[in-house]
């Protein structure tokens, strides 16, 4: 079974994001970029399925500029066999991303597509589900456990009330939640080996997909600030403040 893993390069999760003074977006110049943490979990899961002998090949795909090569090399160092960069300098919206991924799926013919449930920049939580619908495939979103057997996959999902388990016929789309696995660190020999693994580039324009943006960002602003409160010395003082000042208990 072949697995396609879609990954996104985003501002590193530990960076304090700053809104640009002209409110056109957030500062991305000279900011550390990394693989979206949920995508790392997706790569790890695909590699584990390969190590278990369930997957035969893991292909990582990313859509973005030249620097996305670095992110794809990270996926190769973590154990992906091959990488594809769909090259564009445009910022694609999730609908456009899912249309591009559909094209890649048609070329690569995987039995499973693994994606992060959301990217930590746009926080949209859309791409996997959109891809599933466009392909006419079933989906297992927010996965915390994935089992594959007899051409089917059983996915345990993190839902608001607890956990839900569903069974999907393959091919299927799976999006990862935090507790699916703990991604490994790439070892130095694997980082070296990754440099020799194939990384194909496709120009976005060659795929013939309409990726025009459907939305406009009118402005990006700082959230309302919370003013720093006061320190209380004792529990009694805290209870007094909550009762008589904040009046919430």
């Amino acid at each position: 079974m072949k697995i396609l893993v879609a990954i996104k390069r985003v501002i590193d999760a530990n960076v304090k994001v700053r809104v640009k003074p002209d409110n056109s977006g957030v500062e991305t110049a000279n900011v550390k970029m990394s693989m979206n943490p949920f995508c790392e979990i997706a790569v790890e899961e695909a590699v584990r399925l390969k190590e278990k002998g369930i997957a035969s090949e893991v292909v990582a795909v990313s859509i973005g500029n030249q620097q996305c090569q670095e992110t794809l090399r990270t996926a190769l160092a973590l154990g992906a066999d091959k990488a594809i960069l769909v090259k564009t300098d445009d910022q694609l919206e999730p609908l456009a991303v899912s249309k591009v991924l559909k094209k890649v799926v048609e070329q690569e013919e995987p039995q499973m597509v693994l994606l992060g449930k959301q990217s930590i920049d746009g926080d949209n939580n859309q791409t996997g589900q959109m891809l599933g619908a466009l392909l006419g495939w079933g989906q297992g979103t927010f996965a915390s456990e994935v089992e594959v057997e007899d051409g089917k996959t059983k996915v345990t999902r993190e839902i608001d009330g607890g956990l839900q388990t569903i069974e999907l016929s393959l091919p299927a789309v799976i999006t990862t939640d935090l507790r699916l696995n703990e991604p490994r660190f790439a070892s130095l020999p694997n980082i070296m080996k990754a440099k020799r693994k194939p990384l194909d580039e496709i120009a976005l324009a060659d795929l013939g997909v309409d990726t025009a943006n459907r939305t406009e960002t009118v402005s990006v602003e700082n959230p309302p600030e919370r003013s720093e409160g006061v320190k209380v010395e004792t529990v009694a003082e805290l209870v007094d403040k909550l009762k008589n000042e904040a009046k919430v208990i």
Partner: protein, 309 residues
């Protein structure tokens, strides 16, 4: 213009998030129609018909809609004949799961997790874990939107008298089948809508120590939540998680116990009215958003707090 709200429910009760979503729909022009798709869920349709602001309820029933799997809900929604300018659902795991499928099939770029309606085509939504608020204008002819429940005050649950119309439920897809569910049972209020939330972090040390927070929560009529660190460590189940990728809460009072306050956690609770932080590390970032901070060992402070209430 007409807005279709896809109801979140458990086949017997309309979830609170649906009322918040109806409130968001009322800020748009035109009528509000609520689709209740499910199994044996007439009572849910009756509740929706009584909700303030609802003009019509569509009831789509079929046995395969019992668990509201995304593929089946997609078919039920896509088989509706009305011409809707806006389709709304709560940005809960229910809405997040199925809504993008509908959006993709309509060839619309969904707007996720809106916190305000600026006009019929322009909305505000948090990005980067709430560290920035984007104002987004949709140029699609239809708008597909998920709504952050805590950002919209629910309208009255009684007083409305909308008509209920039975509609086509679509067809079951063999792509996906329900196996089982393991839902956390609790007598406490729902985390997403509780007036008071008591949350624990890594500082709790283990799952047993959460009993202390449960005692505190019961004194306050509160729900119990947790940081990602506490869930990852296995102290409490996943549905306790408050944060960027967990639940978003905005109670009257949020008490953070042994939580350092990573930005991903703050994203889920910083709209709370009053925030209390109890942490022995006075440098913990949680104190920067807390209205009242108590620098104290939680194992001393929490029992004292329980006694004082």
């Amino acid at each position: 213009m007409t807005t279709l709200v896809i109801a979140e429910h458990n086949n017997s009760e309309l979830q609170a998030s649906t009322y918040n979503t109806i409130a968001a729909a009322k800020q748009l022009s035109g009528e509000t129609v609520v689709l209740v798709a499910g199994h044996n869920c007439e009572s849910v349709a009756e509740q929706a018909a009584k909700a303030e602001g609802v003009d019509k309820v569509l009831l789509a029933q079929a046995d395969f809609l019992e668990h509201l799997l995304a593929e089946d809900v997609e078919k039920a929604v896509m088989s509706q004949e009305g011409d809707y300018s806006h389709i709304l659902a709560p940005a809960s795991t229910f809405g997040k799961n199925m809504m993008p499928r509908i959006s993709a099939l309509l060839d619309v770029q969904q707007i996720s997790d809106i916190i305000s309606v600026e006009s019929d085509d322009t909305f505000k939504r948090p990005v980067y874990a709430g560290n920035a608020i984007a104002t987004v204008k949709s140029n699609d002819s239809k708008k597909v939107i998920t709504v952050r429940a805590t950002a919209f005050d629910a309208l009255a649950t009684e007083g409305g008298s909308a008509t209920i119309e039975n509609v086509d439920a679509g067809s079951h897809t063999p792509l996906s089948n329900y196996v089982s569910e393991e839902l956390t049972k609790s007598e406490r209020p729902d985390l997403g809508t509780a007036k008071v939330v008591v949350s624990g972090g890594r500082g709790m040390g283990n799952g047993e120590n959460f009993e202390m927070l449960e005692t505190l929560a019961d004194k306050l009529g509160a729900a119990v939540g947790a940081s990602r660190a506490a869930v990852d460590a296995g102290f409490v189940p996943n549905d306790y998680q408050v944060g960027q990728t967990g639940k978003i809460v905005a109670p009257e009072l949020y008490i953070a116990v042994g939580i350092s306050g990573a930005i991903q956690h703050l994203a889920g609770m910083k709209d709370s009215k009053v925030i209390v932080a109890i942490n022995k590390d006075e440098e913990a970032p949680i104190f920067q958003v807390a209205d009242y901070g108590l620098v104290e060992d939680l194992f001393k402070a929490v029992p004292e707090l329980i006694d004082a209430l």
